[in-house]
């Protein structure tokens, strides 16, 4: 697991562009080590971080990295509230606070299982990074991305071999990406599933893999204040009872370790 430098540090926005419903941010992170797929960062704008709706944001926000090396890190974010809104309006050259890379990323499939990467919405970025790493390591991942509509699916256009599902059917399969996964597992269950996305999708995939005894690694999202184990806010219930902290014990956790993926 790549360790994060202690303390928040300043990054600079190198570029920002909108691809359909998402904003792709490229951040110059001079002091930063290279992140591993599935790790995340806590981000905040240096100036104007507050005074949005309800005087928010105040706490930093968590974002999986979509790629990162040689002092550059990429993020893909959707503007859904005051924090993502402020970040989406960052100008080239503006400074931002970074802590990371944080958490445990994905682990290679065991006993030769083929990797299936099933993501939804802003769950796509870590899977993009993981698929590249898998290819570099000689694996041939199957990618399945689910989106609400064409605007959200636009970001996946640049991938040639990806199965797309959209809720409104405007692109690819008209339905949930979990249906694509079911078909894929039906075809060949000797796989390891890697998933990231909204809680409803993760919970469905957790159950599906449990029933079919298919190993699955879920990259979870949870309300976070710190991202490095200090607040005990980001918990997920464990199948063995009690809670784990998504930020330090995850965000990638074995599906079998989790009692259920909380949706709130």
């Amino acid at each position: 697991m790549t360790q994060a430098p202690f303390g928040r540090r300043r990054g600079v926005l190198a570029s920002i562009r909108k691809v359909g419903a998402y904003h792709l941010l490229e951040v110059v992170d001079r002091g930063g080590p290279d992140p591993e797929p599935g790790q995340f960062y806590m981000l905040a704008a240096v100036s104007g971080w507050g005074a949005g709706t309800d005087e928010r944001p105040f706490l930093p926000r968590a974002f999986s990295c979509m790629g990162g090396s040689a002092g550059r890190v990429w993020f893909m974010l959707e503007d859904i509230g005051p924090g993502t809104h402020r970040l989406a309006r960052l100008q080239k050259g503006e400074p931002l606070w970074l802590t990371g890379p944080l958490g445990h990323g994905f682990r290679m499939p065991e006993d030769g299982r083929r990797p299936i990467l099933t993501g939804g919405g802003v769950g796509v970025p870590p899977l993009v990074m993981w698929s590249q790493a898998l290819v570099e390591r000689g694996a041939r991942p199957t990618l399945q991305f689910g989106f609400r509509d064409a605007a959200h699916a636009a970001v996946a256009a640049s991938f040639d071999t990806v199965q797309i599902a959209t809720d409104d059917g405007s692109v690819g399969h008209h339905g949930l990406v979990t249906e694509l996964l079911a078909a894929e597992l039906h075809r060949d269950p000797h796989a390891t599933v890697y998933s990231c996305g909204p809680p409803g999708m993760l919970e469905a995939i957790r159950r599906m893999c449990l029933e079919r005894e298919v190993p699955a690694q879920l990259a979870l999202e949870s309300g976070m204040a710190c991202g490095f184990g200090a607040c005990f806010g980001c918990v997920v219930p464990l199948s063995g009872g009690g809670y784990a902290r998504v930020c330090v014990d995850g965000p990638v956790l074995d599906a079998t370790a989790i009692d259920h993926v909380p949706a709130h």
């Binding site: 430098p5 202690f6 303390g7 105040f58 706490l59 204040a225 200090a230 607040c231 330090v248």
Partner: protein, 290 residues
């Protein structure tokens, strides 16, 4: 940095962490030895330890507010035995003195906790978290001078180590409660803990967002309330005061020290910047150098 004597313990500077807002063991795993080389606090205060193991409240446990946050964590911890076995050895290896924070819903529970801490050489001081409800009165023990005095009478004899009473701000007259703690032998008081607060689910149903229904507010939003309470308590008692509540930079720490605090704790700001403690200590040092 100006060294500080706190209840006989020599500290490199006045900035410590607020209990429950920094996990030195987890942070060491995340950040590595850099954490120890530039440890952000002059003493480390553990998360509140209870007799029994506690899972803590169901999620969600956090809500962001204007210039602050609410937490309803529910004091998850390994319990006294688990703490002594798993955490203490690692915390004892930290480069700064260790203060252990404990909570019990009855005087008996607190006595057992304090007695156990008394027996541990590595624990230099004990902080009593009295913001938990008194089963009989329904009020927080720390909200009512009489119930605090009763608990202190039972607990004080359990240890000769410095005993810090952490006061709740959710009371009519915090200085009155502080005076009761002093009268019953407290070596120091620390305040403020979080302000009782709640949040509704954004779906408009009116149901609570937090698993624990209500929680405690912290961060810059409570700073002016903390300064008033620390000022009132420091004027009333002669034992040292640890002041906290929304401290973000050296100037805020300096204000609490001017109000009469001996130490200043940093909590929520560490979530925004894991190295906030050392930054604030440096800023304070520059201010005092002037």
């Amino acid at each position: 940095m100006s060294a500080v004597d706190f209840c006989g313990i020599e500290l490199a500077h006045p900035i410590v962490n607020g209990s429950g807002t920094f996990d030195a063991i987890a942070a060491h795993a995340v950040f590595g030895d850099a954490l120890l080389e530039d440890f952000p606090f002059s003493a480390f205060v553990s998360k509140t330890i209870t007799l029994a193991v506690r899972d803590g409240n169901p999620p969600p446990r956090l809500w962001e507010t204007p210039s602050g946050m609410i937490n309803s964590i529910g004091l998850p911890n390994k319990g006294l035995a688990g703490y002594l076995e798993h955490d203490l050895p690692k915390l004892a290896a930290l480069p700064v003195p260790l203060i252990t924070n404990v909570m019990g819903s009855t005087a008996g529970e607190l006595c057992e906790l304090v007695a156990a801490c008394d027996g541990q050489e590595a624990i230099r001081a004990i902080e009593l978290n009295v913001s938990c409800p008194n089963v009989k009165t329904g009020l927080d023990i720390g909200a009512d001078p009489a119930s605090l005095a009763e608990v202190m009478r039972a607990v004080r004899p359990q240890t000769a180590k410095p005993l810090i009473v952490k006061l709740t701000p959710n009371t009519a007259d915090v200085a009155l409660v502080a005076a009761a703690a002093e009268a019953e032998g407290a070596d120091a008081v620390s305040l403020i803990n979080t302000l009782r607060a709640t949040a509704q689910h954004p779906d408009g149903s009116g149901r609570p967002w937090l698993g624990g229904v209500t929680g405690g507010m912290s961060g810059p939003a409570i700073r002016a309330v903390a300064l008033a309470q620390v000022t009132a308590v420091a004027a009333r008692v002669s034992i040292p005061v640890v002041g906290m509540g929304g401290v973000q930079r050296g100037e805020h720490a300096a204000q609490l020290l001017r109000a009469g605090a001996t130490l200043v704790a940093v909590g929520t700001e560490s979530f925004r910047d894991s190295a906030a403690g050392s930054r604030i200590a440096r800023e304070l040092d520059r201010l005092e150098a002037r």
